[in-house]
């Protein structure tokens, strides 16, 4: 893969140029917290902090209007009502700039679910096709980072179109996809030269900072072994507050709810994020709820990422190791330690 270089100064110009015909989502300081917002006048990308919100929302927004409708009454005969429906397929072309490799990797989980041989979700697919990910490799790590333990790394390219790596004076840029290659044809990019070696060193150094990786490969079996162990799950979930911070901020959580919100004779069909940590998630119309306790709900979240998803799809964990769920958890619950505890518990059970 060709390695190019772009200076800090040119990066801003490039964003400016991209913004002419794209919505360019960049991480910005939003009241002290870092979120993705369209690039615009006076907005500077914040690249030294990990965005709180994940880059999934460029393609999978928290609220998405699937269609709007209006009931029309026949003025001659009010008994006759017709309904007009407008499908609202997204039209915008977008670039997500400055997401971290972990966050972008999350999109591969979405891809497996929303666009596969059986299903093509038109809303997701359209946005995904129209969105480019220019990802920024990490050069430092946080206590909550564990990308290296889930098959990823600080310079993972999965899901990205272009990977930037911070070097002296700017970034090296590597195209990951053909679309990415086209992007790098822009005049702001120079040949990488010896910057490329520097970039490789940065990648290597960052990976080393993460240290030894814990082995989660037997997680599906371990989790299965403690599946019926209610005491274990209730214990793990004891501190859980049942809020949706972990799932909403997670780059791989894709659950949604569809509702009609109407006003008078008009209305819209809305797709909005849902969270399996909430009591309402599995609440059935009858009032019955198969997951009444937070232990059962936490079990679902952990299992989904470390067992169900890899079983159903391509063996990849549905966790990208970004650590958002740990960092944003009001009770500091650590998904790593839950899976580790499950591994230990199952090992203990086996040895008995």
């Amino acid at each position: 893969m060709a390695c190019k270089f772009i200076s800090h100064e040119d990066t801003n110009q490039w964003l400016e140029a991209l913004a002419k015909d794209h919505v360019v989502f960049i991480p910005v300081d939003d009241g002290g917290s870092v979120t993705f917002r369209p690039y615009g006048e006076g907005r500077k990308p914040v690249l030294d902090r990990m965005p709180v919100r994940s880059p999934k929302e460029a393609v999978f927004p928290q609220n998405e209007t699937l269609l709007t409708y209006k009931y029309d009454k026949d003025p001659e005969d009010p008994e006759r009502t017709s309904v007009r429906i407008k499908e609202t397929l997204p039209k915008e072309r977008a670039v997500v700039f400055g997401a971290r490799p972990c966050g972008t990797r999350g999109m591969t989980v979405f891809d497996s679910v929303f666009v596969n041989d059986r299903i093509r979700d038109p809303y997701y697919a359209t946005r995904r096709e129209n969105t480019l990910y220019v990802t920024l490799a990490c050069h430092e790590v946080e206590s909550t980072c564990f990308c290296h333990e889930v098959g990823s790394g600080p310079a993972d390219t999965a899901g990205s179109d272009v990977l930037l790596t911070p070097v002296q004076g700017g970034y090296t840029a590597e195209a990951v996809t053909e679309r990415g290659e086209k992007m790098l044809e822009a005049s702001f990019f120079a040949d990488g030269g010896d910057k490329c070696a520097e970039a490789e060193a940065v990648k290597k150094a960052t990976r080393e900072m993460l240290g030894e990786a814990h082995d989660f490969s037997n997680a599906p079996e371990a989790l299965l072994a403690v599946f019926d162990d209610d005491e274990f799950w209730d214990d793990q979930a004891a501190a859980c507050l049942s809020c949706g911070a972990c799932t909403y901020l997670c780059p791989t959580c894709y659950c949604f709810n569809i509702t009609d919100e109407s006003t008078g004779t008009t209305g819209k069909r809305l797709r909005s994020w849902d969270t399996c940590m909430s009591f309402q998630y599995t609440l059935e119309g009858s009032g019955h709820n198969p997951r009444t306790t937070k232990g059962k709900r936490l079990k679902n979240r952990v299992n989904h990422k470390f067992a169900y998803f890899p079983d159903t799809y391509d063996q990849h964990l549905a966790c990208c190791g970004c650590g958002r769920c740990i960092k944003s958890c009001p009770a500091s619950i650590d998904i790593r330690s839950i899976v580790k505890a499950a591994q230990a518990r199952s090992a203990q059970k086996e040895s008995k």
């Binding site: 009454k73 009010p78 008994e79 006003t263 008078g264 004779t265 008009t266």
Partner: protein, 657 residues
């Protein structure tokens, strides 16, 4: 839903300033509206028939009438819906007359407003549900609290109508204040001669159970189904055996008890029957004065009692009664004049209250009807009456007029002349209030025939001078200060609410005013009803009343009870709160704020605490719905979703299309 909208012209009342056909036309565009029309008078027979026909023809399941105020015709249109087979709660009204056509002249803006009110009504109606009344049994027994003349009248009327009556009297005998009075105005006939027979009727009526020296401890339940606990206080005399012979009273060595019946102007024995005509005519021991109960030695009464009915071991007894209605006739108390320092603060022996004076005049009173000065037993030759003592005086917290003092003062002045022909009487008054049949003539007679001197003015001071009293006041008509030397001063004390009235009101879950008088449901249109269904009021517990009014109210309350009891089953208003138990977390905050005690705590099968509404007690105010943080308790017909639908219809923008 299939909604029909009817826009009323109300002749020209609405149509003059609202374009009714245009509103009807526009309403066709509203969600679920399948039929609209405008009519001249929707409330008229043909107007109502039009609704009924439209319901049938267009298979409507909800109706909006835009016309006058629902306070005017909601009941009318609900009946029309019922005639057409629809549930009465599937009606909504838009008030386009009082709230639109009558208050604005701009036809264009009125029309817009009228349409919007119709839109709100449609939005709410789309969230309405049919509601059905529950039927429940009525216990056809009535509790009468208080055995004064009002309570006696109410009890006798109910008993004569064939209903069981439970009467609870706090004192040892029924009769109330009227039993203490010598003669009544303006007829000057003997009080006990007219009340006595009624008291006897109470004791002999087979439908009346009387608990004297008893108090209501607790009232639970709701209209038609109250559970009442009565505390029968220990009398230390077995009343089933006591014949009222009075032998015990004659021999009782403890004779220094304050005679409450005689307003403290005489003493009585510890075992006592308060007066010869008492009902029940039974003796009771005052435990504070009784040597046996206090010191453990005496027992003279037990020795002399021919039926051996003295029981020093007797305890209070709690009796439970089931009744369907309650009449409170708890009367009033006399104002305590000792707060008036300038009148001697109750320290001058010959400055007495009007009710004490009644006892002095009464032939069955402690003096045998001879008017004498309490201090020296001499006959007073100059008597001064001071009116409005504890009435119309904000400085002592009694700004109201007690109503009957003017009349009884005139009566007492007349009687004074009858008793002591060579006496002179003076009355200090503020205004003479005598608006009753023959009342004003009576006060005139006092002045003109009996030569009572009426002085218009407040008394500023009473002070002793030798063995007499100087009453200093103003004569505002003459514009001078006057001083009258009197042998006896009678203070026409006003009425105040009975002691413990507020506590009793809370037991009955009715409200009371600042002065402790019970609140009627409406001061004019519902004078004997309360806001608690099944609880009625009679007599002076509502405010000062004279005898005829009290008797009238006793009968009125009885009539209300009879109306209630005329039905075998009662219907509860379905417009009450209802708990969604799957949302309720059992915090019971709703029960805390409910003014009617209509919410009780229950435990579901899983052992969780839940709130439950007693539908028959709930009055439908909705305080609970606002209190409940989960929105689990919803006032039917005014649910959150119904009101939110109205708010949204008004405020929320439709989507562009």
């Amino acid at each position: 839903m299939r909604i029909g909208v009817f826009i009323c012209h109300c002749g020209s009342n609405i149509a003059a300033t609202v374009d009714c056909p245009a509103v009807a036309e526009q309403a066709k565009g509203l969600q679920d509206v399948v039929f609209t029309t405008d009519t001249m008078y929707t409330c008229s027979e043909p107007g109502q028939n039009e609704i009924i026909e439209a319901i049938k023809e267009h298979k409507l399941d909800g109706v909006v009438v835009a016309s006058c105020s629902p306070r005017m015709h909601e009941a009318t249109f609900r009946r029309a819906l019922e005639r057409a087979g629809l549930n009465r709660y599937m009606l909504e009204m838009a008030n386009i007359r009082e709230h639109v056509s009558w208050i604005g002249k701009n036809k264009e803006r009125n029309t817009v407003k009228a349409f919007e009110l119709v839109s709100i009504a449609v939005a709410k109606l789309r969230n309405n549900n049919p509601l059905y009344a529950n039927k429940f049994d009525v216990t056809k027994r009535v509790l009468v609290i208080g055995g004064g003349v009002a309570g006696i009248q109410a009890a006798l009327d109910c008993a004569d109508a064939g209903y069981q009556v439970v009467m609870v009297e706090r004192e040892q005998s029924i009769g109330g204040k009227m039993a203490k009075i010598d003669k009544t105005f303006p007829t000057v006939d003997c009080s006990s001669c007219i009340l006595g027979p009624k008291m006897v009727d109470v004791s002999q009526h087979e439908n009346i159970t009387l608990y004297a020296l008893s108090e209501v401890e607790k009232i639970e339940g709701y209209v038609g189904n109250f559970d009442v606990q009565v505390r029968k206080k220990a009398t230390y005399v077995n009343w089933d055996e006591c014949t009222g012979c009075g032998a015990c009273m004659e021999k009782c060595p403890s004779k220094k008890n304050i005679d409450k019946f005689n307003e403290g102007i005489s003493k009585c024995t510890s075992i006592n029957i308060p007066f010869p005509q008492a009902i029940p005519k039974k003796a009771a021991i005052n435990p504070e004065g009784c040597l046996m109960l206090q010191k453990g030695k005496c027992g003279v009464c037990a020795k002399v009692c021919p039926t051996k009915c003295i029981d020093f071991e007797q305890k209070d007894e709690i009796i439970t009664e089931k009744v369907g209605a309650v009449i409170a006739a708890t009367g009033y108390d006399m104002f305590d004049h000792s707060v008036y320092k300038q009148y001697g603060a109750g320290q001058y022996p010959d400055v007495i209250t009007s009710l004490q004076y009644e006892r002095l005049m009464n032939a069955s009173g402690p003096t045998g009807g001879h008017i004498i000065r309490p201090s020296d037993g001499k006959e007073p030759k100059k008597v001064v009456f001071v009116q409005c003592v504890g009435s119309r005086d904000p400085s002592v917290g009694r700004p109201y007029c007690s109503g009957f003092c003017c009349m009884y003062t005139a009566k007492q002045a007349i009687l004074t002349k009858d008793h002591i022909p060579d006496s002179d009487s003076y009355v200090f008054y503020m205004d003479i209030r005598s608006p009753g049949k023959g009342y004003d003539e009576f006060t005139r007679r006092a002045q003109e025939q009996y030569g009572v001197q009426y002085l218009r003015g407040r008394v500023s001071m009473i002070y002793p001078k030798g063995d007499r009293y100087v009453v200093r006041g103003s004569d505002t008509l003459a514009g001078t200060q006057v001083e009258v030397e009197a042998d006896l001063v009678v203070l026409a004390v006003g009425a105040e609410s009975a002691k413990n009235a507020p506590a009793l009101a809370e037991k009955m879950r009715i409200s009371y005013d600042n002065y402790g008088f019970f609140m009627e449901a409406h001061p004019k249109l519902k004078p004997v009803e309360t806001n608690t269904a099944g609880v009625y009021l009679a007599g002076s517990c509502v405010g000062p009343r004279d005898i005829p009014t009290s008797v009238g109210q006793g009968s009125a309350a009885a009539a209300k009870v009879m109306t209630l009891f005329s039905k075998d089953k009662l219907e509860s208003d379905p417009q009450v709160s209802s708990v969604n138990t799957s949302r309720c977390i059992g915090c019971m905050k709703c029960a805390t704020t409910c003014p009617f005690g209509a919410i009780k705590e229950v435990t579901d099968r899983a052992g969780n605490v839940k709130a439950e509404v007693i539908e028959t007690v709930c009055q439908g105010c909705g305080i609970c719905t606002v209190t409940c943080p989960q929105g689990a308790i919803q006032l039917q017909h005014f649910t959150d979703n119904q009101i939110l639908a109205e708010v949204n219809a008004l405020c929320q923008a439709q989507l562009d299309f």
